[in-house]
């Protein structure tokens, strides 16, 4: 990237009239797809972003890059996703601070422990070296849990975190100076559709003729699908986060507990603790406002599991959107409903992990027409178009692990 290229990329003066592909959404999904299409030789690409790059869920998440998953199919994919992040520094010549902090599902119910035995066996079968820890080993490895609710065990794996903003910057600096164009601060107003599918994207800054649109709009993908009269079952769902003042290194794994209540916390490289406890009654809908109830809920439950954290001080809180699909797997690929309409959404809280790798598969599909094996499970047409995500939010992981 030459000097000045980034400034020109981030603040273009002209509006393109045509594009081979218009990618709607400048978060990790849209940026990664642009990168992969570029790598596959496409050049005439435009990214349309309503805010600034990463202003949606990408800039609001905590970027846990976890290979161990609850199902075999997803663990295979997630491991490839983690490898993709491990290579990202070399490939983009940008240190995204990929760091194997470790990741633990901490268990509080015997029933959960039994379920995890099977899952750990599955991990071992396919080469993920997760470990089921005894209660004593759990507290030895994670002393922050001492004095809290009694644990029955934990599943620990050598999983990673990255710096979410750095991932955005790495992509921006990679794309700057390439033929890809980014239109930040630009809103899509309408999608023009003709007999042969997509014909143009109408934005508040002008019209772009194109035969291919990628919907990478995250929590706003439903609104965009509506403009194209494409039906998808995704529903936006708010998740809240808080962060504490930095503390010395004291928590050596990202922790998630989810029965009977779902919550999580981990320490960043700088020492801040990010955490959240989910509201099981959170209604669907786009809403990025913070709540006082979240602070109280999170403080009450997290300090019950980790009493030492009562002395941490919260200095900031925010909210971001999940784009939740009925089976909590994303929709990545073409849809039979409209020629030239490509879905890359429904990440269900896994966009940061999944998007860079699935973007690679999607780019293969878009440029060669052949569907990579691992993309099949994300076929957007796997749902009955009338299906909705309603009823699945009550227990996020129950559905996630049911497959």
């Amino acid at each position: 990237m030459t000097r000045g290229a980034l400034a020109a990329f981030l603040a273009p003066t002209d509006m393109p009239a045509t594009a081979e592909v218009v990618i709607v959404g400048g978060g990790i999904g849209g940026l990664a797809i642009a990168r992969e299409l570029l790598a596959h030789g496409m050049r005439d690409l435009v990214i349309v972003e309503r805010g600034y790059p990463g202003s949606g869920a990408t800039g609001r998440n905590v970027a846990r890059i976890r290979a161990m998953q609850l199902t075999e199919a997803l663990t295979h994919v997630a491991r490839a996703c983690q490898d993709k992040y491990d290579r990202m520094g070399d490939e983009l010549d940008f240190n995204v601070l990929f760091y194997r902090l470790g990741y633990a599902w901490v268990l509080y119910e015997t029933e959960e422990l039994e379920r995890m035995r099977d899952i750990v066996a599955m991990h071992h079968r396919i080469g993920v070296r997760s470990a089921l820890l005894s209660p004593d080993d759990t507290l030895r490895r994670l002393p922050v849990l001492r004095g809290g609710d009694p644990v029955v065990g934990a599943v620990l794996n050598d999983d990673a975190i990255v710096h979410h903003d750095a991932v955005v910057w790495a992509h921006l600096e990679h794309l700057a100076g390439s033929p890809v164009r980014l239109l930040a601060g630009t809103t899509v107003r309408a999608i023009e559709v003709g007999d042969h599918g997509v014909e143009a994207v109408e934005t508040d800054r002008g019209r772009i003729e194109t035969r291919a649109v990628v919907n990478a709009a995250g929590g706003w993908s439903g609104e965009l699908n509506d403009l194209a009269r494409v039906v998808a079952p995704n529903r936006p769902l708010r998740r809240e986060v808080l962060v504490t003042a930095p503390l010395r290194r004291s928590i050596d794994a990202a922790i998630t507990f989810y029965r009977p209540t779902e919550g999580w916390f981990n320490q960043t490289l700088r020492g801040e603790v990010v955490m959240g406890v989910v509201d099981p009654h959170e209604p669907n809908g786009v809403d990025q406002s913070s709540t006082a109830a979240f602070l109280q809920r999170t403080a009450s439950l997290v300090t019950r599991k980790a009493p030492a954290l009562a002395d941490a001080t919260v200095i900031r809180q925010w909210a971001g959107m999940y784009d939740v699909s009925p089976d909590h797997l994303p929709l990545v690929g073409p849809t039979r409903q409209l020629d030239g309409w490509w879905q890359a959404n429904g990440w269900s809280g896994r966009g940061m992990l999944l998007a860079p790798y699935l973007a690679e598969l999607l780019a293969t599909r878009m440029t060669t027409g052949a569907t990579p094996d691992r993309l099949e499970m994300f076929d957007p047409d796997r749902f009955d178009p009338a299906a909705t995500a309603a009823g699945h939010e009550q227990d996020y992981y129950a559905r996630y692990g049911a497959r």
């Binding site: 400034a7 750095a166 503390l247 900031r316």
Partner: protein, 550 residues
């Protein structure tokens, strides 16, 4: 009455203090000026604001991490330790990081530490070791007793019980509103200072004003104001809100102005009057503000040499090896002059915009200060939110009258809201009637005050502007020049505004640096600000624990 002397330890050494005075003041009186080290470059920091807001006095106290020692009464046997320093905050060897700081922009590691690959994890382990601040205890003795959640719904909520807040409160109550005032301090401010507790005593009896002392407003959540008072968490749903939060110290934007010994005028006045602590023998006064003149007189009376006040724009550098040892300033003839000093007292202040920004109200440059944009009745662009100015202004009577007008306008707004609700209630079964027909929400129809819209000249590019993250002016400029021209991106790239002071001490300077020579306003002329994030104050998690969370 003489209070008992107590002894406690700081970094293992015995220190004496007066029972009940703030720990940080005992330490200052004992000559311990460096209380903490900055996060990035381990720059020495000392007591600066004494209101629990800047965070420069954070230490570990009796095992609790990052406690603001200016707000904690000293007790016999206390164990106080400096944080984020080795071997001690006074002689922190990690200060070498500051020597190379000019070569280390905030994002430097994104272009390093990739090779050799085998060391990649180790590099980040080292970065992790350098990060952090306070030590988390083992959790065996933490306080996490449940707080009671209490509700209230006054007609008018006044946040801040200083002279402006109380003037507004009394005016609103006289107009018939039920008024609640939240005041963070435990008692009314002494008469004649920025607050004026006598106001209430002078007000007619039977007025509907309830002042809740020791109650800190902690957040604005779509018109619901939260507050904590040590026992309870308040959720207050007022019909109208008056923000009367006063101002914060505006640290001069010159190199070295974050050294221990650079203190705000109000702290200097308190040290001399309340604690009989002389913070230095050779004082330099900088800037203006009505407190500064009184401080100068008090210093002289206590036998100190005083220079100034000099204009803030004349100050060029605050020098020293750790704490303040000299200042460089431009004299009358324009030539740079050097003056030895061991304390620098500055008087400039900047409006406290916490609540206005949280509510989405517009702010802009008014007479060179970043302030809420209001109409003459104090109405902000956030519907139902009124703002009154800092009473420590050149003309207190004019600001008092403005506060009274805002109080009356808030009462009228609350009355309209009430009327609208009563009408709504009559029109439908009471069981489904909304509790509040009109809630305080953001609207798109702002009143505007005549503002010149011009930011002041930004300070030196080598000055630290964001103290929590040690962000200097040139770093803001460099990010903007590189193309990260959105303030939200600059915030993320540099960390400015995201530290433990939550942007209170850098918002004005960072916005000013960002705006310099740049079209940093939106098409409607608003100043571009990064998103405000709640809560309004750092909150200990243990103080947010409730019995039955929802």
């Amino acid at each position: 009455m003489e209070r008992a002397r107590v002894s406690f330890t700081f970094d293992g050494r015995r220190v004496e203090g007066v029972d009940g005075e703030p720990v940080a003041i005992s330490l200052l009186a004992a000559g311990r000026r460096t209380l903490s080290r900055s996060f990035r470059f381990h720059r020495p920091r000392g007591l600066m604001c004494s209101t629990g807001q800047c965070g420069w006095c954070e230490c570990e106290v009796d095992g609790r991490p990052s406690v603001r020692t200016c707000r904690v009464p000293v007790r016999e046997g206390m164990v106080v330790r400096g944080e984020h320093a080795w071997p001690s905050v006074e002689r922190d060897l990690l200060r070498v990081l500051d020597l190379g700081s000019r070569f280390v922009p905030p994002t430097f590691y994104h272009h390093r530490f990739l090779r050799p690959r085998v060391l990649r994890k180790w590099y980040l382990d080292v970065i992790r070791w350098f990060g952090g601040r306070g030590r988390l205890g083992d959790g065996s003795s933490v306080d996490r007793g449940s707080r009671r959640v209490r509700q209230d719904a006054p007609d008018v909520l006044v946040v801040g019980g200083g002279a402006g807040g109380l003037s507004a409160a009394i005016a609103a109550a006289e107009a018939g509103a039920r008024v609640v005032v939240l005041e963070a301090e435990a008692a009314p401010a002494p008469a004649g200072s920025a607050g004026d507790g006598d106001l209430l005593a002078l007000a007619p009896a039977g007025l509907g004003v309830e002042v809740r002392f020791s109650t800190v407003a902690t957040g604005w959540y779509s018109g619901v104001v939260t507050a904590v008072d040590g026992e309870s968490i308040w959720e207050i749903r007022p019909r109208a809100v008056v923000a009367a939060l006063g101002s914060y110290e505006l640290v001069p934007a010159v190199p070295g102005s974050d050294r221990p010994g650079v203190i705000g005028a109000r702290l200097a006045a308190r040290l001399l009057a309340e604690h009989r602590v002389l913070p230095g023998e050779r004082a330099v006064l900088v800037g203006d503000g009505m407190e500064l003149t009184a401080v100068g007189a008090a210093f002289r009376e206590a036998g100190a040499a005083v220079m100034g006040p000099i204009p803030t724009t004349a100050l060029q550098e605050v020098g020293g090896r750790g704490a303040v040892a000299w200042v460089v300033y431009r004299g009358d003839q324009g030539a740079a002059r050097r003056e030895s000093a061991d304390v620098v007292v500055f008087g400039d202040r900047t409006p406290n915009l916490d609540l206005v920004i949280a509510a989405g109200g517009r702010v802009g440059w008014v007479d060179g200060r970043l302030a809420a944009q209001t109409d003459p009745d104090g109405r902000t662009s956030a519907s139902g939110l009124f703002a009154v100015g800092d009473m420590a202004s050149p003309d207190p009577e004019a600001t008092a009258e403005a506060a009274r007008r805002a109080g009356r306008a808030a009462a009228a707004f609350a009355g309209q809201a009430l009327g609208a609700q009563e009408q709504a209630d009559r029109g439908r079964p009471s069981a489904v009637a909304a509790t509040h027909a009109t809630r305080v929400t953001r609207t798109g129809d702002p009143p505007r005050s005549p503002t010149d819209g011009q930011p002041p000249k930004p300070g030196s590019p080598h000055a630290v502007l964001c103290f929590c993250e040690d962000v200097r002016g040139w770093e803001i400029q460099a990010e903007r020049a590189a193309g990260y021209a959105d303030p939200e991106l600059v915030k993320r790239r540099t960390g400015a505004l995201t530290g433990p002071c939550q942007g209170k001490y850098c918002l004005s300077a960072i916005t000013c640096a960002f705006n310099d020579g740049n079209v940093a306003t939106t098409s409607t002329g608003d100043v571009l600000l990064p998103t405000g994030r709640p809560p309004l104050r750092p909150l200990r998690l243990g103080d947010l624990v409730v019995e039955d969370p929802t």
